[in-house]
């Protein structure tokens, strides 16, 4: 559906996007993840034809962004970051304007606006001017704007940034409802966001792709070892480390903290695929130490993200 080939963008010599390649299949929900200034917005702006790439190409279906930008724009709905809409316009007028430009007929226009206002929860605010709306509401108007022509591809730049938790859930619901049979690319720097909504995650750092995989695979195979964290009371540090190292599957033991002189916090690095928690419990039971805490640290996107985008 979408092929990005060797795409770069320079601003006055500053490299915002550095030769990235990826492709998106029909029906996928792809999350573009990265710290601020990683090149997410630049990438999306090039995808939507707002910026022209310095080098490289983007193909959508059979169209190239360099020759058929207009045709590509017909296939796409785009919500820019923080929904910059005409503040002086009424919500209804604005949606009507977008529908006109999208080339919808008079009667189709009314139906589409009605359907969208229900989908995005705008029925109550149709007669407000956009400038009066709260951020969350404006974002919803922006979503309606993006979905006006029922496009095959939806591109959303930080659709939930700056919203309160309730609004985030609302926007996510709208996206999920709209997601059927649509290809969606959304950017975010909130990891739980990507985990919750995306099938696939592309992590960008300093203009380069550092990871590109299914959300689930990425969480499982991260190239990082499994880590078990535990807290012990009345355990001498040396003896505890010694005992734990003797357990099958344990690679290394690290002391991470000590409280009141008697509570010891440890991190146990284990071989991939092994789960020595049971063995650890049994081993500790043989002593007179008290086991306060024992849990496996999940390798969620958060850890991977931090690992991959660490500033060295």
């Amino acid at each position: 559906m979408i092929e990005v080939e060797n795409l770069s963008k320079y601003y006055d010599g500053f490299c915002a996007v550095n030769r990235i390649d990826f492709s998106v299949q029909k029906g996928e929900i792809v999350g573009l993840l990265g710290p601020n200034g990683a090149g997410k917005t630049s990438t999306l702006r090039m995808l939507t034809g707002y910026l022209s790439p310095t080098s490289g190409n983007i193909r959508v279906k059979d169209y190239s962004i360099r020759d058929d930008a207009l045709k590509i724009k017909h296939l796409m709905g785009y919500l820019p970051e923080s929904a910059p809409l005409y503040r002086a316009m009424l919500v209804y007028d604005y949606l009507d304007f977008v529908a006109r430009i999208r080339g919808l007929d008079e009667d189709k226009r009314k139906n589409r606006i009605r359907a969208l206002s229900e989908l995005c929860g705008l029925t109550e605010i149709m007669h407000f001017s956009i400038g009066e709306l709260s951020r969350g509401l404006r974002q919803r108007v922006g979503l309606a704007h993006a979905m006006m022509s029922d496009p095959e591809i939806l591109i959303l730049d930080e659709p939930t940034s700056g919203l309160d938790p309730n609004q985030i859930v609302e926007i996510r619901d709208i996206i999920r409802r709209a997601a059927k049979e649509k290809t969606i690319i959304l950017s975010t720097h909130i990891l739980s966001e990507a985990e919750a909504t995306c099938d696939r995650v592309i992590i960008i750092h300093r203009g380069k792709i550092v990871a590109d995989d299914d959300t689930r695979t990425l969480s499982e195979i991260s190239g990082l070892d499994q880590v078990v964290a535990l807290a012990l009371r009345h355990a001498p540090a040396e003896a505890a480390a010694e005992r734990l190292r003797g357990i099958d599957g344990v690679l290394d033991v690290q002391e991470t903290g000590k409280f009141d002189g008697e509570t010891l916090e440890l991190k146990v690095r284990c071989r991939e695929g092994s789960d020595p928690r049971e063995a650890i419990y049994k081993s500790v039971k043989e002593t007179d130490w008290v086991l306060l805490e024992l849990h496996q640290e999940t390798q969620n996107l958060e850890t991977i993200f931090r690992e991959l985008t660490r500033e060295d």
């Binding site: 034809g49 017909h74 809409l85």
Partner: protein
């Protein structure tokens, strides 16, 4: 064509839902009315020559005020991004805004039609120059709108857009009255650049292809440059 009409309609509506339209129209009528009628009865002539003579001067300040927000506002709010990622051509956007500005200029001029009507009651008014004057006013207005649009596409600050537009329009208006500053060899070219003379010719009722060509070229150059300025990212 549809996006163009949509954009023009939206911009025109924007003028009239905000107070800008009414303020600009009132100021224009006040200034032209005052300057025109203070001397009108002294000349004791039933014509509108004075009104049209002043028009390039007033237009070079009024029209940049009309056009200054067209792109600058979109640039500063960021809404240009939402607009340009809709399926529109750059030319549709520029032309749509241009058409709205020209129609608004016509709306500014419309109330002044009361002047010739009033004058024709007072004396024997020759309608030829009046018709020529209004036609010329629209051509001049269109050319200045194109310049104002270009100024607006260059900056996200509306005040800078206004000043830049006004400076260019004002220079074009007065340049052929300042010929004594220029060397002889350039006189012909500079005189042709001045908007004032071309407008006066048409306002006399003389339709010359050179004058028409002048206004069409200025309009075209302004719009084309605005398109390029907007495209350059």
């Amino acid at each position: 064509m549809r996006p163009l009409i949509g954009i023009a309609g939206k911009e025109l509506k924007d003028y009239f839902v905000s107070p800008i339209a009414y303020i600009v129209i009132s100021v224009f009528l006040l200034v032209t009315g005052w300057i025109f009628f203070t001397t009108f009865f002294l000349f004791n002539q039933a014509d509108m020559r004075n009104f049209f003579n002043l028009l390039p001067m007033t237009f070079s300040f009024v029209i940049p005020a009309v056009t200054m927000r067209l792109f600058s506002e979109e640039l500063s709010v960021g809404s240009l991004e939402t607009l340009l990622t809709l399926p529109v051509r750059f030319s549709d956007v520029v032309m749509g805004k241009f058409v709205a500005a020209v129609l608004f200029t016509a709306a500014i001029l419309a109330p002044t039609l009361a002047y010739p009507l009033a004058i024709s009651l007072l004396g024997d008014l020759d309608w030829g120059p009046v018709a020529g004057g209004y036609a010329g006013a629209l051509l001049l207005g269109a050319a200045f709108c194109a310049i104002g649009l270009l100024a607006s596409a260059l900056t996200r600050n509306q005040i800078i857009a206004f000043i830049l537009g006004a400076v260019i329009c004002f220079s074009l208006t007065v340049i052929d009255k300042m010929l004594f500053f220029f060397p002889d060899s350039l006189l012909g070219v500079i005189a042709y650049l001045g908007a004032g003379t071309h407008f006066e010719n048409i306002a006399k009722g003389v339709i010359d292809s050179r004058d028409l060509l002048y206004f069409f070229s200025v309009t075209f150059i302004g719009l084309y440059a605005a398109t390029l300025a907007m495209q350059e990212r």
